[in-house]
């Protein structure tokens, strides 16, 4: 039986390199593409590259849209709770966006490349949503997902490596800023952004330049311990950084089957990116104003398991604590005095903090930092509860992240 080219998931522009480097060949699906889960047989080396050296992650499947024209800022200001008017050229803003009931549809970054040119990244296809809201505005929306490759270079040595291969120095590029640059002679834009909470950059390029950029970075990074890194290690780092993921930590409002599955940006802890004082109306504004006034029923918080409190649960059956070595995307009940008051949506062992941590959704009033709660752990097929406490996000923020 012939296999049709159409019967394959998409490859990223880096596939020729990534597919040869991955030892376990544990492909993961991401927005219609296949990407490497991990390159090594264990994720630790990739994880520690993020935290101690420099890790290179293929993030090409991110949806990318160019929004251009005299009304470009107006369109975005209408769509997102963030005040686009306050964004300078060269600035990048992280934001969620909502439906009319103020529930999150998606989240991503907006880069202001010039007064009238923006690039938006999203997790879900957004062309229809953007075009629908662009009616009557002098703006064009173009999807460039397949035209661009994207590499995320993360870790304390990432700047040093980039400085070796870039035409212009990255030293002055501040946190959440973007610049035009060249890398190995190829035109790229580089933003100081990432999904790890470490020092890091994302490099955006034409697909034709993808392999040249990859090779140049691998070469330049050799002396700094560069490691190609899959999305499994990134998943651990992003939990430490307190960064949530669509369809894992929240359900997009337009995917939800029932109201209870939806989340607002305030519930997800994005208060800092919801600018209710901005002049323009934006989709979901009224609902968010109401929620702001009344307080949120739920909050996304951090949860740290108390290791000393968990050890006896395992000791009773003669075992040391058994914690999955990777991030786990599965719901775990969070309890207060025997009653469920929330749930963890992603939990992971944090190698840098040496702590078992989780992103948790908690009902009022249990979301105050310091609140003592317990989270489900499975000890030899039995569901028990390990004590711990509510903490603010992020769990981990190195001093060099914003320096």
């Amino acid at each position: 039986m012939s296999s049709l080219p159409q019967f394959q998931l998409k490859h990223t522009p880096f596939h020729e390199r990534t597919s040869n480097l991955s030892l376990p060949q544990n492909w993961r699906r991401w927005a219609g593409h296949i990407v490497v889960g991990s390159y090594d047989l264990h994720v630790e080396r990739e994880y520690w590259a993020i935290r101690d050296a420099v890790a290179m992650i293929d993030v090409s499947p991110l949806m990318k849209y160019m929004i251009e024209g005299p009304d470009a800022a107006r369109l975005l200001d209408k769509l997102v709770p963030r005040d686009i008017g306050k964004m300078a050229v060269g600035q990048v803003g992280y934001t969620g966006w909502c439906d009319d009931e103020g529930k999150l549809l998606d989240d991503g970054t907006i880069s202001r490349l010039s007064d009238n040119t923006f690039r938006l990244t999203s997790a879900e296809p957004s062309l229809r949503w953007l075009s629908m809201n662009a009616v009557g505005l002098d703006v064009s929306v173009t999807e460039v997902t397949e035209k661009m490759g994207a590499l995320s270079l993360q870790g304390p040595k990432s700047r040093t490596v980039l400085n070796k291969v870039c035409g212009k120095s990255l030293d002055k590029l501040k946190y959440f800023r973007v610049m035009e640059n060249t890398l190995a002679g190829r035109k790229v834009t580089i933003s100081r952004t990432g999904y790890t909470g470490d020092l890091g950059f994302e490099i955006w390029m034409d697909v034709a330049d993808a392999l040249a950029v990859w090779d140049a970075l691998m070469e330049a990074g050799r002396d700094y311990g560069i490691v190609p890194c899959g999305i499994l290690a990134m998943d651990m780092a992003r939990v430490e950084a307190g960064l949530f993921m669509i369809d894992v930590d929240y359900t997009a409002a337009n995917h939800a089957w029932i109201e209870g599955q939806k989340s607002s940006p305030l519930e997800m802890g994005l208060d800092w990116a919801v600018h209710l004082d901005k002049p323009a109306y934006f989709v979901g504004r009224r609902a968010l104003e109401r929620e702001q006034a009344a307080g949120s029923a739920w909050k996304l918080m951090g949860f740290e398991v108390d290791w000393a409190g968990m050890e006896p649960l395992f000791a009773k059956v003669g075992l040391p604590p058994q914690i999955p070595a990777m991030a786990v995307r599965g719901s775990l009940p969070v309890m207060h005095e025997g009653k469920q008051v929330g749930y963890a949506s992603t939990s992971t062992w944090s190698p840098v903090l040496k702590t078992y941590i989780a992103l948790v959704h908690l009902q009022r009033p249990y979301y105050e930092p310091g609140t003592k709660l317990s989270m489900e752990v499975t000890v030899e097929h039995k569901r028990l509860h390990a004590p711990g406490k509510v903490v603010k996000l992020p769990f981990y923020e190195p001093e060099w992240k914003k320096k």
């Binding site: 039986m1 012939s2 998409k10 699906r29 296809p125 062309l127 337009n254």
Partner: protein
Amino acid sequence: MTSNQYDAVVIGAGHNGLIAAAYLARAGKKVCVLERREVVGGAAVTAEPFPGYRFSQFSYVVSLLRPEIIRDLELPRHGLKILPLPSTVTPMDNGDYLAAWDDHDLTRQELYRHSPRDAEASDEYGRVMARAAKAIKPILGLVPPDPSSMSPRDMLRMLKVGQYAKSLSEKELYQIAKLLTQSAADLLNDWFEFDPLKGTKSASGIIGTFLGPNSPGTAYVLLHHYMGEIDGAFRAWGFCKNGNGGVTQAIASSARALGVDIRTNASVQQVIVKGGRASGVALANGDELQAKVVISAADPKRSFLQFVEQKHLPGEFVEQIKNFRVRGSSGKVNIALSELPDFTCLPGENALHRGAISISPSMEYIERAYDEAKYGQFAKNPYIDMIIPSMIDRDMAPPGHHVMSCFVQYAPYDIEGGWDDAKRDAFGETVISTIERYAPNIRRAIVGKQVITPKDIEMIAGITGGNIFHGELLLHQLFFLRPAPQWADFRTPLPGYYFGASGAHPGGGVMGAAGKLAAQEVLKDWK
């Protein structure tokens, strides 16, 4: 000698009749099912017109068969296997094609190739339709209330539907109201721009009705077909192992195990009425069976205009049944093949052969096909839904050979001058030459073919008008109006006579809900 005394007699051994009988036997009743033909199954039968080549003669896919029926009657233990039918490919006139695979990413990628806008709209459309299907689905399982009745029973049922409706958001209610009244064309034009996509999607809105994509009410039919469900999960259509006869064989086996007598070659002449109550049936061969209740699983016209003397029924009810629309609009061509059809758009043996292949290049194509039917002709360029069962279940054809099932619309029951052999041949030839445009080797691959017109459906399966749903899925023939106002609760104006077939709520398809619900109502009334 078998006794002719039963608690219940069921007329018709289609899936609904067998299901009703099995549920009654499960409740301890002594039940007999009477089947006019020599085989059970009704319109869900597998036939072998050419040795070694087996066909689902009429209905050919499964999706709506209620999961609780599968569990209650232990159908898997009686051989039921529903195999996946994972894709739909629409060949286009320019040599390209449109495919919908059973994978979200692949389908999106494929549609994106034709229209990026539709690729995204399709995601959202799918979710809106799925939510609407989910919202309507519980109503399918409820006995429809009569909104004009003040009886406590009806009030309670109204309350149930009302409570349920209250759990929906305002937006969902608007969407449902719109879906119930719109045409498929209006609905699809609201969402999409790509013609082959709209054509293929609109086809589900006209199947089994005598309407075109532009006729109001067809949006609901689209939703009705959208409620495909296998094993309780929202899914697409499936193919039953051994054809759709496999479904009814499993139900019959379960019914027999529960003690049901199934008699074939037992044509019912009339329902016997004594003291104003149905008390049994008289067979064409002169035999009589006595029963406390009689349940008809035949179509509404046969059930009320043929089996029961009209003097036993209210005049208005008879009038309503006479006006019930049962216009057959589709035919079937079953083809035995020496090789696979080779489609120009995707040459060679490939994934397309494992799913449905739809001749539906645009809504206009289908509307024009309807135009011809409206004026008494079969469509010269018909909508065709093909599957190749032998690619899904290798036991359907000899090794290396294949069978192909072609559902064809439009073919009006009331064709000008009436159906005859010449017209049937011409209809079959039209279908072959239509397929030939997309798969040029089809003609030389034909080993045998069986052409079925709506008239044949009536003659063989015994469905008046040859309508595959026993009555069109029009809004004025659904819920509390199916088959007639005030008589949608499976009871009839004749005490002791019940009605549980596709012409009753919730309608057609190999769903079985009507048979099960009718049995439940019989048991509620049992004294």
